[in-house]
Amino acid sequence: MNKIVSVVILVVMMLVSTLASVQTARAEEAKMVGSISKIEMAADGKSATAILKDNKTGESVTIIVSDELTLDKFNDKRIVEGDEIRTKYEKSGDKNISKMFKKTAGC
């Protein structure tokens, strides 16, 4: 049993370390982890602006979210101000358009 546990943990750790070294972000995309300081829904309800405070730099980044599943979570309060978010966004002019917006994983 102990051997099996050790082997499994070792394999997972190796997998994780390999994945960690791979740069997955594309040039035009940015990723960040930060806490939501503000969420503002658009009047038409089809988009929202979320301001995140970058965990690393402390800077505030404004991200526009328009995917329906995330907007549902804003509406249902499943994602609220104060939540820590892992996001991937595309820089388009002076706007940051969310490509992925989810709570940081962990339990």
Binding site: M1, I4, V5, V8, I9, V12, M13, L15, V16, S17, L19, A20, T24, K31, V33, N55, L69, D72, K77, R78, V80, G82, E84, R86, K88, K99, M100, K102, K103, T104, A105, G106, C107
Partner: protein, 680 residues
């Protein structure tokens, strides 16, 4: 002051100018004087203007300095507020919880069977009674007296290992040998009448067990040491002849008859030892319970969070589990480590969960979590419990619902095609056997699992799970059960579980949203050669009481499906169904069911329910709510041993009244329940 002077001068000047010029005649001197006065007046005006400008400037400067000072103060204040906010409780500590009042009306129906526990008590009562074998020298060696037998006992235990050993190797062989003189003559002359010539399946197996475990002790006895036996032997038979040697003089048919007769005298229908229980209908028409939970989440440092859940769960008018446990199902015999806070017991606030999670390891969506885990109430049970989806936590409710102490390593990659995907390796310890000594060789019981959730979104969540239980114990550590105080005594083997399921939410299907799920589970046992003495030589899903069976791997399966329709009126209508096959076994004793964990049922369970949330504004948290729930569970049991991995399942309809069983076989059960719940 200067303004006043100026005004006086101007007034004087105007007054002077208003005097008719004709009155004073044109006078050069006067004219010069006037011009001089005019110049002086102009000078005064300029001076006044200069003074006013100077005064304005001074005022502006003063004002400007004041504004700067205010801005600084406001800035300082903001910093202070930010600092206070940074350290404020609300920034790092979240408090929530839930309260539930529940009323259950429980009705069940058993089939006739024989209580193994009471039968053992009868047997031992016979051994230790006035005409019993205890303290005698039958067979050549003295057996413990009643007092000595009592002294072998352990507080809280039905039979201690020493007592059990005495029963099996001394009392039973002595009693069996003592019966022989009354049986042998009739067997020899062919007049012995068996109570039943056809043995039940279980009796045949019991006979085999007795041959293996009791008869060797009998065979070793010398006939001279068994009162009345030597006289039945042919003249000249030495008293030192063993019973085995003596039996050699009988034909195989006579030997078989004698063995069957001995077994029937012990455990036959007319032996007087069987504690036969006719069919009955247990019920508790009103069981009221209180459940209170307190959830704490503390952000200790960046990326490290501590979670705790403290729970109290008790029945009205009781400070023990006696009102909700019994002798029907293995997961409801008593409260133990994995079910604490999930079965009504007392008013103590127990630690149901306490774990630390390190997220964003190496800036990756990787986490490690350790502690008393959130391995209860997993998906899809969140629908009927009216909870939020469990997120990355939890385990599929069909396979695992057990409060584990353990750890998890998880990874949630960003894959566009697989939104919400994550995988995790989970480990839990179900039992720690303590220090190993020559008297303690039992191994720890562990659980290892791998969960892969390829998609986790509202419209679709898919889960796949494998987990293995290593060194499964026979009885968990429990107190004051029908078996007395129990503890793991032997490792019975391993069990593999496989599961795959999916749940989905379709928005705006008609006026409301439609949630549904389906889940499939498979269990495969790997029994060791060990059996549980405490359970009458039953092994991992093998054997019956006193009817040991060779270890055999058993494969079971289960399905679990359900639907819930959420109306805009906050009414939620749900229905669930689950089926477990004959050999299905799960690891879900903590499920929120009163009779027994429904997902572990070997048979069918139907559960319709309705939830009505109150349309009240949440205050304590965004997700706080209050609701009523009314539901009904109907269990249709097809095989015995739901949620029990000790012993082989038996078809309910095939149970004989003489079948010895540790738990009462229930063929059906009903639970009509209602709740009032508040989540805060």
């Amino acid at each position: 002051m200067r303004k006043s002077v100026l005004k006086i001068l101007i007034t004087a000047l105007i007054s002077g100018m208003s005097i008719p010029a004709v009155g004073f005649a044109a006078d050069d001197a006067l004219m010069q004087k006037i011009e001089q006065l005019s110049r002086e007046l102009e000078q005064l005006r300029n001076q006044v203007k200069a003074n006013e400008e100077k005064a304005n400037k001074a005022a502006e400067m003063q004002k400007s300095q004041g504004t700067k000072s205010d801005a600084k103060e406001i800035g300082d204040l903001k910093n202070k507020v930010a600092k206070i906010e940074e350290k404020s409780l609300s920034k790092w500590l979240t408090i929530g919880g839930d309260y539930r009042f529940r009323v259950d009306s429980l009705h069940g129906s058993t089939v006739p069977y024989t209580s193994a526990i009471d039968t053992m008590k009868n047997l031992v009562g016979g051994f230790t009674g006035p005409a019993g074998v205890s303290g005698t020298n039958i067979g050549g060696s003295g057996s413990p007296t009643v007092s000595q037998f009592i002294m072998q006992g352990q507080a809280g235990k039905l039979f201690s290992p020493d007592q059990f050993n005495t029963i099996m190797t001394q009392y039973m062989p002595q009693a069996m040998a003592a019966m022989m003189p009354s049986i042998i003559p009739n067997v020899m002359n062919g007049t012995y009448t068996l109570q039943n010539t056809a043995l039940t399946q279980q009796q045949s197996a019991i006979l085999e067990t007795m041959k293996a475990k009791v008869l060797p002790s009998v065979y070793r006895m010398q006939i001279g040491n068994v009162p009345g036996l030597l006289a039945l032997m042919p003249p000249g038979t030495p008293a030192t002849t063993t019973i085995q040697q003596a039996m050699g003089g009988f034909s195989p048919a006579q030997q078989a008859t004698m063995m069957q007769a001995l077994m029937q005298n012990f455990l036959g229908q007319n032996s007087g030892n069987l504690a036969m229980i006719p069919a009955y209908k247990p019920k508790n028409e009103t069981l009221y319970t209180n459940k209170f939970g307190l959830d704490l989440t503390a952000k200790a440092t960046q990326d490290i969070t501590i979670h705790a859940k403290l729970d109290m769960y008790k029945a009205f008018g009781s400070q023990s589990d006696s009102t909700t446990v019994g002798n029907y199902f293995a997961d409801r015999v008593g409260v133990f480590d994995g079910t604490l806070s999930h079965i009504p017991s007392d008013s103590l606030l127990n630690v149901d969960r306490a774990f630390a999670t390190w997220s964003n390891i190496a800036d990756q969506p990787l986490w490690f979590s350790i502690g008393r885990r959130p391995s209860t109430n997993g998906a899809p049970s969140n629908l009927r419990l009216n909870n939020e989806r469990p997120g990355n936590g939890g385990t599929p409710a069909l396979l695992v619902d057990y409060a584990f102490d353990g750890m998890t390593l998880g990874y949630a990659p960003d894959i566009d095609m697989l939104p919400g995907a994550y995988a995790k390796v989970c480990y839990g310890r179900g039992f720690d056997s303590g220090l190993k000594t020559s008297a303690n060789s039992i191994k720890d019981t562990d659980m290892l699992g791998i969960a892969v959730i390829p998609v986790d979104t509202d419209p679709l969540r898919v889960w796949m799970q494998w987990n293995r239980g290593f060194n499964i114990f026979d009885f968990p550590a429990m107190n004051n059960t029908i078996f007395g105080n129990t503890a793991p005594a032997v490792n019975l083997g391993d069990i593999d579980w496989y599961g795959i399921g999916a749940m989905s939410t379709f928005k705006k299907v008609g006026p409301g949203n439609l949630n549904f799920f389906t889940d499939f589970g498979l269990s495969i046992t790997h029994p060791s050669n060990n059996v549980s003495q405490n359970a009458g030589f039953q092994g991992l899903m093998t054997g019956e009481f006193f009817a040991q069976e060779a270890p055999t791997s058993r494969t079971g399966w289960a399905v679990y499906a359900g639907v819930r329709y959420d109306l805009p009126s906050k009414t939620k209508l749900g229905f669930e169904f689950n089926h477990g096959s004959k050999d299905w076994i799960t690891f879900a004793p903590s499920a929120d069911d009163m009779w027994t964990s429904k997902v572990g049922t070997r048979g069918n369970v139907y559960e319709p329910y309705i939830i009505q949330e109150l349309n009240l504004k949440p205050i304590s948290s965004y997700l706080s709510k209050a609701f009523f729930k009314l539901g009904y569970q109907y269990y249709d049991f097809e095989y015995t041993g739901s949620n029990n991995w000790v012993g082989a399942p038996k078809k309910i309809s095939a149970i004989q009244p003489t079948d010895l069983m540790l738990l009462a076989p229930m063929k059906s059960a009903h639970d009509v329940y209602g709740t009032f719940e508040v989540k805060f």
